[in-house]
Amino acid sequence: MGRLAERLRGLRDRGEKALIPFVTAGDPNLEVTEAIVLAIAEAGADAIELGVPFSDPMAEGPTIQRASERALASGTSLRRVLELVSRLRPRLDTPLVLMGYANNLLSMGEVGFAEAASSVGVDGVIAVDLPPEEGPEYFAALRKAEVDPILLAAPTTSRDRLAMLAKETRGFLYLVSLTGVTGARQSVSNTLEEEVAAVREISDVPICVGFGVSTPEQAARVTAFADGVVVGSALVDRIARAPSAEAAVDAAARFVGELRAALR
């Protein structure tokens, strides 16, 4: 079992919930991202998602779109994100997950990417636009390299498909909380609890909910039935609005601390 699965199983055994913050790597630059990752790990993140910026992020709302643009403008590339992970890994035991898009993630080739990710200490990868049917070589290469390919499920996903996704995913199943793109929302979907229950009926894979979860209250509500929660845009927004790099690190750590407190 990899670091990510082990962490999530451990939390579940102790009756605790997983807090998984998302930041876009390289926003505003990779040095600041490095400091933010260390600070939010310290503030209580159970795993951290690093967004790999792509020029055409189809599933992102405006907040992460703009973060991706800033990251690309600061010279961020997949190779540099992998270098960031290799710098972080000796100082950090927190599982790290890359989240990005197929054209970017596959630019090194399936095996090349899987081996590079494994060697620097990436624990899982989420490819937003790569359903399992389209990337058998990619999923096989990741598993062989002992990196978890994490799959998404959506409110529109059929029951049969949900069973397939729950079976094929590794680490956890990323349940998209709404039919829509990433971004902060006023409220959490009413049907979410039923969707989580539907997965529970067919699988004991840990379920983490993301897309649209933006406040400590929402995070607490979601984790009343899910195993964990991913918070992205609301954190990215705090980093973007901070007047300086130091303020961004502080704001990120403070917000993750508030989320952590709400999950206890």
Binding site: Q65, S77, L78, S107, T179, G180
Partner: protein, 415 residues
């Protein structure tokens, strides 16, 4: 007049075949590279499309719209002066410029918007570059009483104010897209985001033979009417099939519409003409089939313009309709299979051809179409006088007149 789905009578499938497999792939290209939310919608579409378009009611209604509304069949015109001037092949023009809204786009939007109605989706969305597909979708939506939202890059909104007005006049809402390069590819991303969000009641009417399966097949099938008609017409005019088909390629819908009914005719050559922009070496072009590499964008695996890191390059062309960093997966397949070849012509050559056809035949072509004309000008003199070339005159150039006026004035100043 044939419906788009009908097969060509008497065509023996002895040569190659070009259809997506069960996974929506043309060889290594195509597929469904989309966020999980859209999988159910694509499944629904893949189920509904053959079922609905196979119904007699649907076929009758579409055929009626194509005939009595869009003005089909469009004529095939022998370009006498152009043929004489170039001193080689006899050149025929398939006159999609005479279809309603002035381009081939209407064939596709009528098919898809009618499909949306049969599927019970009251809201239609579309992406547009210069505004041609947006205008066409707004037209079909007005005709069929559908709500219509068109996404358009903010830069294109500024450059194409007249088309924005047309769409609004037709009752559509135009939403400017401020992200990325503020052009067609970003408008496509935003349309995908809308669809992800409103997938239950919304039909996404894609404008070219691109995007996730089954769109490349759907759009191709609706555009096949071009090639089916042209085939009958040239047989009637000349008693034989043409030697060469030529069409411009952005996403590639007018080209595939002309090519596909001839794919199995071994003797018929096919050339798709892309935008070389300022030159293929300049890095400022839209020639994904000539100079791109395999990758994933907008739900499909195809040939794309992207860098070593997998970031998409902004495309460039004088013609907004060719200003796209990819091309449809079936074109990538036909290229690899050697069944069609792809060439590129520069902005300057296209502008020359825009003027040339206007003076030679009294037809002002779209700047997109001018790329195909520019290529024919190059190759026709090398072909024998017995050769037959069929060029898809995909759209008329009224929309480009203001831009062409400025470009020609700027050129006159330089010389």
């Amino acid at each position: 007049m044939s419906t788009p789905k009908r097969e060509i009578a008497g065509a023996a499938p002895k040569g190659m075949h070009s259809e997506a497999d069960a996974r929506g792939r043309f060889g290594e290209y195509g597929g469904r590279y989309v966020p999980e939310t859209l999988i159910a919608a694509l499944d629904e579409l893949a189920e509904a499309y053959p079922r609905i378009t196979g119904q007699a009611d649907y076929q009758r209604e579409l055929e009626d719209l194509l005939t009595t509304y869009a003005g089909r069949p469009t004529p095939l015109t022998l370009a006498r002066r152009m043929s004489d001037d170039l001193g080689g092949a006899r050149i025929y023009l398939k006159r999609e410029d005479l279809a309603h809204t002035g381009a081939h786009k209407v064939n596709n939007v009528l098919g898809q918007c009618l499909l949306a109605r049969y599927m019970g989706k009251p809201r239609v969305i579309a992406e547009t570059g210069a505004g041609q597909h947006g205008v066409a979708t707004a037209t079909a939506a007005a005709l069929l009483g559908q709500e219509c939202v068109v996404y358009m890059g903010a830069e294109d909104v500024e450059r194409q104010a007249l088309n924005v007005f047309r769409m609004e006049l037709l009752g559509a809402e135009v939403r400017p897209v401020e992200s990325g390069t503020r052009t067609l590819k970003d408008a496509t991303n935003e349309a995908m985001r809308d669809w992800v969000t409103n997938v239950r009641d919304t039909y996404y009417c894609i404008g070219s033979v691109m995007g996730p399966h089954p769109y490349p097949t759907i759009v191709r099938d609706f555009q096949r009417v071009i090639g089916i008609e042209a085939r009958e017409q040239i047989l009637q005019a000349e008693g034989r099939l043409p030697d060469l088909l030529v069409a411009c390629v952005g996403g590639g819908s007018n080209a595939i519409g002309l090519f596909h009914p001839f794919v199995e005719d071994d003797g018929v050559g096919m050339v798709g003409v892309e935008a070389a922009g300022e030159g293929l070496d300049s890095g400022r072009h839209g020639a994904a089939l000539c100079a791109g590499s395999p990758g994933v964008l907008h739900g499909m695996r195809s040939l794309l313009l992207s860098d070593d890191d997998g970031q998409i390059f902004p495309a460039h062309s004088i013609s907004a309709g060719l200003d796209y960093p990819g091309a449809g997966p079936e074109h990538a397949f036909l290229r690899d299979a050697g069944r069609a070849s792809y060439e590129a012509v520069t902005d300057d050559e296209a502008l020359d051809a825009f003027v040339y056809l206007s003076r030679m035949e009294g037809i002002i072509p779209a700047l997109e179409t001018a790329h195909a004309i520019a290529h024919v000008r190059k190759i026709a003199p090398q072909l024998g006088t017995q050769a037959l070339v069929l060029l898809n005159l995909s759209g008329r150039g009224d929309k480009d007149a203001p831009q062409a006026k400025d470009l020609l004035a700027a050129r006159a100043e330089r010389t």
